[in-house]
Amino acid sequence: MKPEKLSELLQNIDEGLIARAGKRRKNSRAAIIRIVAVCACLALVMTVTFKLAFTRPEVFDKDTGTDNVTTDGTEIEMPDTDMPEGDIGSPSDGATRPDNDRADASDDGDDAFYEDEDEADKQNSTPQSKPTADDAVTDNAGSSAGTSVHPVTKAADPYPYFTKNIKFTCGGYVIEQLYLPEFTRDKYRYAITDTESGKSLSKLTVSDSVNFKDLPVIPYAAKTVLTPVTEKTVSRIEDRAYWYDVFRGKKSGTSTQYVSVYPDSRGGGGELTRTAHTPVTLTKALHGGVSDGESILLVENAAVVEYEGEKHLFCAPGYLPIKPDTEYIFIVKKIPSDTVSNVYRPAEADKICIFEITDEVKNAGSADELKGLSDAEKEIYQRYYYDTL
């Protein structure tokens, strides 16, 4: 017998033995994590205590009793303390804590808007929060032609887009996506305000006044939105075609933003939080089939992509910098769903790859002519664009 065979046989040994050993591994790991956490807390407390104990205030002249005056009487100029205009992670436009009542009813009646990114960046002026040129940005006008796969952001703050709120109006409601500090479980919350009554709502009830096909998208960033495509991705697409979907499509509609809607399975007052969604309801929302009186909860963002006449709904807890009327190649990992076939929800935000069909791509004869791309990225363009022409 070969060792591999014996190893295969071990696959089928008594599950009680496997479970017992597994539990032991887990308990031991949990104990190690607890010990490490306790040590880290102790270290932090000791550091703070040490600093407090040994930090002395500015020494001033005991005789004169004044500070910033030298012994010969000349005044010392105190340096300016340049405070940053915004903290990392603080939203750009002021009060964003969930408890704040966002009764700002700026109903302009138009399609969705969100804060000018440059303006927001000025307000969040700490270097870490400012996206670098290499980051995936909302406005892709500056992206280098042909290079549509952006690397993971190089900014120290991995969540540059989280520092601002996104607000839009639709159907008589002001809906605002709030940024919360990273340590909270629910990073994204929404505040809904009825513009007529000024009341905050915990959920939005479908009515004739809300047409979900016209709802704006709230694109917001994820840790890694566009993963670098490697040869491995390409070979995995081949090997596991059922698991990866690759298709080309255009974002439908003229608005730059859509929002996905879900039945509110939690209810309750106060802030809305992320909940799991069911694909059936997503499809219903997509095709306008949500019933009157049905409660919905605004959660993860989505993008509607048209492909060969069919609409596909992208739902991802991440930022999709998809411009309208622009074609892309999408590579997504599809999680199983036997209820709806054209809903794509990657298990994780960083499992989406998006390749823009730019003018440079269209003008080139083959992927080899595209500059600044890795071999794997060129292969994607070649296989899914040039070879299909």
Binding site: L10, N12, I13, E15, I18, I335
Partner: protein, 186 residues
């Protein structure tokens, strides 16, 4: 969420079954896969495949111990990927090292009679493992089922690496002799 509730989500064809499975067992399954494949992306793939397989098999299957059910799928998928990747070559990963060690238990020759006696052989191995002390048995399962490294096993069990190596060596010898006594030519 407890296993019964997770399984009922599968039966209800509720997609949150996968989210809950991932929350509870994601890291556990990833570790098993990584131990075998020593590659992050492949390990992630195998774990995702595990979710898909679980979705497609529950129902009608109703696992009695969900963790073991999932672990088996992950292990099987990972070994499969490894086999395809490496063919006859031996690459990295603890799993390959553990295979080398198991070489001392078996002859290394394959024969048709093995398929026929597979089930009985598994039962025999079960009997042997149950005859061991708890530590010895757990160490063996950690090494040859979970493909944990010697260092990790030492941490889990609270013994030195040398103790672990000695325990494994003795268990392998014991298994080899046990199987011979039982009349299995392996």
């Amino acid at each position: 969420m407890d296993d019964k509730k997770i399984i009922s989500l599968y039966f209800d064809r509720n997609e949150t079954a996968i989210t809950e499975t991932s929350k509870k067992y994601g890291r556990y399954l990833y570790k098993i896969s990584y131990n075998i494949l020593a590659d992050m992306s492949d390990a992630e793939e195998c774990v995702n495949d595990t979710y898909l397989t679980a979705w497609n098999t529950i129902p009608p299957k109703k696992p009695s111990v969900l963790s073991v059910f999932l672990a088996r799928i992950t292990r099987f998928a990972s070994i499969d990927v490894l086999r395809r990747k490496t063919a006859d070559k031996r690459g990295g990963g603890e799993y390959m090292l553990s295979l080398d060690e198991l070489g001392s238990v078996v002859s290394g020759n394959s024969g048709p009679e093995e398929d026929a006696i597979e089930k009985e052989l598994v039962l025999a191995i079960d009997r042997f493992l149950k005859s061991l002390t708890r530590d010895a048995c757990d160490i063996f399962v950690m090494r040859y089922f979970y493909a944990d490294s010697i260092k990790d096993i030492a941490k889990y069990v609270g013994k030195s690496e040398q103790n672990i190596k000695t325990s494994l060596h003795r268990t392998r010898l014991g298994l080899s002799e046990f199987l011979k006594k039982e009349g299995y030519t392996v």
